[in-house]
Amino acid sequence: MKVICKKLIGAEVIAALLGIHYGASAMAAEMNHHGMISSDLRTGLNSLFREHVFLAASATGAALAGRDGEFKAAAGALDANSIDIANAIGSVYGTGAEQAFLTLWRKHIGFVVDYTVGVATKDDAKKNKAVNDLVQYTQDFGAFLAAANPNLPKEAVADLVKDHVLTLKDVIDAQASGDMNKSFMAIRSAAGHIGMIADPLAAAIVKQFPDRFASR
């Protein structure tokens, strides 16, 4: 329960700042107020972020099992997803932000790859460095979104991204253990958690640009 509560804190802080109650009925009311477009944005971001989780898990699982061809295909699809996410950011904040976001997003995938390699080679130093790099990355990502949108406080975003990273770490650790049940439970958990980034991000964008979204 403590872990679950902690994971909700970041999303709750952002929701409070947005003036919305982070609950299903209140979120639905907020979405209805702005019509279909805000829900399209929310659905779209959730879809992209969940795809990121599934493709990342596919890539790490293939890498750990030594299925090189599958890893390369999954990594290629994962990068295509990264470009799609960056395009979505760019559609709101411009091409400069799109490129900066893509570079930043790809960076965290690189650190996840580093962690996976560390696990595969049983290299604790490499694993620890990757974890440290990912923790630092959460600050960068939080700062980026905070700079883009005043409704997204840096530390709240950083906490949510940290939890995302930890859910991916759980996936990799489970995959490395060879426990398939544990692996897929961890993947479901990671996919479920990432909605806590997508939902507030969508709501914050709608709040920042009410005319752009309400007018459609």
């Binding site: 900066a100 570079t103 980026f144």
Partner: protein, 82 residues
């Protein structure tokens, strides 16, 4: 200005003797380091520790100058000094 992990504007033309001031609008440390990651100028690396931090440099000599952020090396800027 530095915002959203970009130097804005990314390219600038100035006259020799002009002082350029960067203002960091991001809540994260950036630097203005002359050169490129592959060919950096170790002498001139200006830290901007966080939001509202500023750093200045006077370009006395004409030429084309590249600069980047040590922490986020894809961030690049150019200044042409006439």
């Amino acid at each position: 200005m530095i915002q959203l992990f970009q130097y804005q504007p990314g390219g600038l033309e100035i006259k020799a003797g002009t002082t350029v001031t960067w203002v960091n609008q991001d809540e994260i440390q950036h630097t203005v380091t002359l050169g490129t990651p592959e060919n950096r100028n170790a002498v001139v690396s200006l830290p901007l520790p966080g939001k509202d931090a500023t750093a200045s440099f006077t370009f006395d000599r004409p030429g084309d100058y590249e600069y980047f952020c040590e922490r986020h090396q894809s961030m690049r800027g150019q200044i042409r000094v006439q």
